[in-house]
Amino acid sequence: MTPNGPPLLSVEHLHIAFPLGGWPKRRTLHAVRDVSFNVARGSIVALVGESGSGKSTIGRAIARLQAARSGAIRLDGVDVLQTEPRAASIAYRRRVQLIFQDPFASLNPVHPIGHPIARALLLQDRATPQTVAAQVERVLESVGLTPAADMAARFPYALSGGQRQRAAIARALAVEPDLIVADEPTSMLDVSIRMDVLALFRRIRDEGSRSVVLITHDLASARIVADRVVVLYAGQVMEDGPAESVLSHPQHPYSQLLAAAAQRGGGLREPLPAHPGAPEVIDPGPGCPFAPRCLKATATCQSTPPPTVSVRSDHLVRCHLAESA
């Protein structure tokens, strides 16, 4: 399904760190470590993984709202970490739109939600002052914010959580960017509306030239729309491959744990098949970051960084136990 040709976006060896202060030795939190993945033109790539594994940080870096320590983020081959100013030019923001994870914090409280949509449409000459109201309503209807005329005039405070989330999606869609980075865009939506929003992303993808990076905790959503799935843990890519392959036949022990946890019916009181604990991102050891939780870990896992193994065509796994194809 993924078309050929050079990728629209390519993230290469991205490293992002945050200084934490501390005394006598300043400590550093390595939020994103050596992350690489591609987003083909006309495709949807899902970033899934542990809470705190760096997904939003990567999303913000792609939107140029977050500086990186090293690595490259190429849009059409151009490394935007080099060419784009911090906070991005207007032209860049037209090409790349970020839908923030927290809709309670990301909508401008002083404007009704129709306002930024109208502005985007007018700025890009896709509406005239005569037609703009009707077009704003069309955009709002596409995300299920009805009656749209009433919704367009509402201020963010007068919307429920899921309605704000859809207002943020509508605003990003109105810009018609080449790349949408959607950070948990449907987390507050019920299944029925969630399907409609995912169908919108699919329609954008199917136009052929535009792409979506979908950050999500919902593996079912990833299965429905994504072409590829990238699994993150503790700031590193654990697995990267075609969606069906990664979700139905996860190879990395962490991906397998995610898949197991997504199964319902096992009983909520039952512990998951993993050692308890959280990864060490501040002073990470040399080995696999998942080793402390992994039931299959060996002494090598603790002491040596696992290799990235190509288990199948186009399917990478970072694990000592992975067997190359």
Partner: protein
């Protein structure tokens, strides 16, 4: 018009919400909603986005920001009427008798306070001096939600979405209140952390017997987590039933049945998810009669004109639908 709960045993309940109505100016966002929560029990609250779930719990707990106003009903927490309490009375209740884990974790944390300060504030507000000191106690609470205590010194902006959400859950647990109200508490959590935290919550509930009201869009999760589930549609309660009844195909209201039919099938289940057709109803301009009627395949003429009252369908099971014949089999979604 309000729909009174015909099952009147609020005396035995820890929380008894009766015929609660909440308005935003001319808009009635919550219309006569009733539910009860017994000690140690978990009530799940579900409903479409915008159906009034957050408004109902914020109104009931007197935490609703302007222009929201509670315009009717009664809310009894351990027998005390919350709607009559003054500011001082409410301050004593919040945190100690009932804690809210609000939807939208970032806006609920104070951006200029470190995580530790949030715990310190909570303890000071109630004159609590935790054994071993605030830092140790807060560190233990963070560990329970899978967060490294190193984050006690972090500001909210330096935490990921799911980490903030876990801080708000830990804050809710801080004073060990008998009632915890959680509004979409796991939206930013991966399934592994979510399961770890739910296990912690259930263990804490087993140990200290607190009750929960749990708002979520994850109906499949509620079927496992909650003892009873209340379903809202466009500001009204349409059905309330024990989870086992819903899990065993015992849902009666066409909206509830639609909601369950829209769930992704579990592996090995031979069924395709069916989404509910039509647009969400707006509480600003609700449909006449039964608010679900424009989307309901079972609707009859009466549904368009007359709002159905809640009727008793079984033990702890009430439903508001004209078509449901109580004691007879239920309408199938999509059936004529």
């Amino acid at each position: 018009m309000t729909e009174r709960d015909p099952r009147g045993d609020p005396a035995s309940a820890l929380l008894a919400v009766d015929a609660l109505s909440v308005d935003y100016g001319p808009v009635r966002a919550v219309d006569g909603v009733s539910f009860t929560v017994r000690r140690g029990q978990t009530l799940g609250l579900v409903g479409e986005s915008g159906s009034g779930k957050s408004t109902a719990v914020l109104g009931a707990l007197r935490l609703l920001p302007a222009p929201g106003v509670v315009t009717g009903g009664s809310v009894r927490l351990a027998g005390a009427e919350l709607l009559d309490l003054d500011a001082a009375g409410l301050r004593n209740i919040w945190g100690a008798q009932v804690a809210l884990v609000p939807q939208g974790a970032l806006s609920s944390l104070n951006p200029v306070l470190r995580v530790l300060d949030h715990f310190a504030e909570t303890f000071t507000a109630h004159g609590v001096k935790p054994e071993g000191g605030v830092r140790a106690c807060a560190a233990a609470l963070l560990s329970r939600v899978g967060l490294d205590p190193v984050h006690l010194d972090s500001y909210p902006h330096a935490l990921s979405g799911g980490m903030r959400q876990r801080v708000t859950i830990a804050l809710g647990l801080a004073l060990n209140p008998p009632l915890l109200v959680l509004d979409e508490p796991t939206t930013a959590l991966d399934v592994v952390v979510e399961r770890d935290i739910l296990r912690q919550l259930l263990a804490a509930q087993d140990a200290s017997g607190f009750a929960m009201v749990f708002i979520t869009h994850d109906v499949a999760l509620l079927l496992e987590l909650a003892s009873a589930i209340a379903v809202m549609y466009a500001g009204r309660l349409v059905e309330r039933a024990p989870s086992e009844v819903l899990a065993a195909d015992g849902a009666l209201h066409p909206y509830t049945r639609g909601l369950l039919a829209a769930l992704p099938p579990s592996p090995g289940e031979a069924r395709l998810p069916v989404s509910i057709p039509g647009h969400a109803a707006s509480v600003a301009d609700p449909p006449s009669g039964c608010r679900f009627h424009p989307r309901c395949a079972s609707a009859i003429d009466r549904c368009r004109t007359e709002a159905p009252a809640l009727r008793v369908a079984g033990p702890d099971h009430v439903v508001a639908c004209h078509v449901v014949e109580l004691g007879v089999s239920s309408p199938k979604p999509g059936a004529p």
